[in-house]
């Protein structure tokens, strides 16, 4: 599941720019996994945004939950929570958290971004192991895997030509690695409660063993100002998965 979620996160890219992301947006996806050439429904993935106030600042709280459908809970229960607290306009992360429960395995991670934007204090706790803390230095444009999902939607794809590639850097599992996104053109897709929409088709690749195949990791965003991720197809070493938008609200 970790690979699946990382693959999902890698299916997004980012570019410096101002946020078009509003609070109280909720996107619900049905996640399917391909086995023996057929897709089977596995889990529900929800992405939400909300405003969080501290005594001095306002943050945008980005969260992603992955929860197995009840029929799977007795066999392989998943309760994953990915969170990022970002500056609302630039989407620069201040705090990233990850808590996963996958079939009995647990892991929690916390990245605290220091004010220089390049130093991250990473705290990790795995099942039956002691908590560890490590300080890492990253590039100033590095994003965590949650905020990168939303950064993608600030990119102006209108100016992109088919085949155009852009490279970026993300931080995951206390490591930085490059990700590139290729604009492949537009396609029409039927989108949950939004009707038929023109969508940007993007191919994602990363210098990691998580994603497999050329142009087999794809994401479709609505070709409008909101750029809602409506469909995500990913290929990982253990198979192929598909996320389809089931419901969108607050957009």
């Amino acid at each position: 599941m970790k690979k699946i979620l990382l693959a999902l996160c890698l299916l997004f890219s980012f570019e410096s720019g101002f946020s078009q992301i509003k609070p109280n947006e909720k996107l619900v996806y049905a996640a399917s996994y391909k086995m023996s050439g057929m897709m089977t429904q596995l889990a529900q993935v929800s992405m939400q945004t909300e405003t969080v106030n501290t005594s001095k600042k306002t943050y945008l709280h980005l969260s992603l939950e992955a929860v197995t459908f009840s029929k799977w809970d007795n066999f392989f229960k998943i309760r994953d929570l990915y969170e990022s607290y970002v500056e609302p306009t630039t989407l620069k992360p201040s705090l990233y958290k990850r808590n996963i429960y996958e079939g009995g395995y647990t892991k929690s991670e916390k990245y605290v971004y220091k004010s220089d934007g390049r130093t991250i204090v990473c705290t990790t706790k795995k099942k039956n192991r002691p908590e560890t803390t490590k300080t890492i230095t990253v590039g100033s444009s590095s994003q965590d895997v949650m905020s990168i999902v939303y950064k993608l939607r600030t990119v102006d794809f209108k100016s992109f030509k088919p085949g155009q590639i852009k490279s970026f850097i993300i931080v995951f599992d206390q490591k930085e690695f490059p990700v590139s996104v290729k604009y492949m053109g537009k396609e029409k897709l039927s989108v949950a409660n939004l009707g038929v929409k023109d969508c940007y088709k993007l191919s994602i690749s990363a210098k990691t063993d998580v994603l497999k195949g050329k142009d087999k990791n794809l994401i479709w965003l609505t070709a409008d100002a909101k750029k809602i991720p409506v469909q995500i197809l990913f290929s990982i070493p253990v198979g192929t998965g598909l996320l389809k938008l089931a419901k969108a609200s607050g957009i």
């Binding site: 057929m38 429904q41 969080v52 501290t54 005594s55 600042k57 029929k71 958290k97």
Partner: protein, 104 residues
């Protein structure tokens, strides 16, 4: 040849039962289809006095098919309310706010 068909049918019937119990949805149709085919072939190749085992395999295959069709049609994909997970989300947010306060 009859024995081979019975072995294959038995194998796919066992797989079909497993896939029927597991929440694998339409994927279960694959072994069920093969179980039905091999059970039928074993039935056809058997003499009148030896049709009992193929008949049992055919019936089990048909039953698994019925169960899977029923599950596909009537069982909805939904998530249950998980109070523990909901509480963890609340706790995580509270902890995050405290952490952010400490950063400022």
């Amino acid at each position: 040849m009859r024995k081979l068909f019975i072995y294959l049918a038995t194998f796919f019937v066992v797989i079909s039962i497993l896939f029927t119990i597991l929440p694998l949805g339409t994927i279960a149709f694959l072994p069920i289809l093969l179980a039905l085919v091999f059970s039928f072939l074993a039935f056809e190749k058997s003499a009148a006095s030896l049709k009992k085992i193929p008949k049992i395999l055919l019936v089990i295959s048909a039953l698994t098919l019925l169960v899977v069709v029923g599950k596909v049609v009537f069982v909805k994909d939904e998530v249950v309310v998980d109070k523990q997970f909901d509480q963890e989300k609340v706790d995580s947010k509270q902890e995050a706010v405290e952490e952010l306060e400490g950063l400022e």
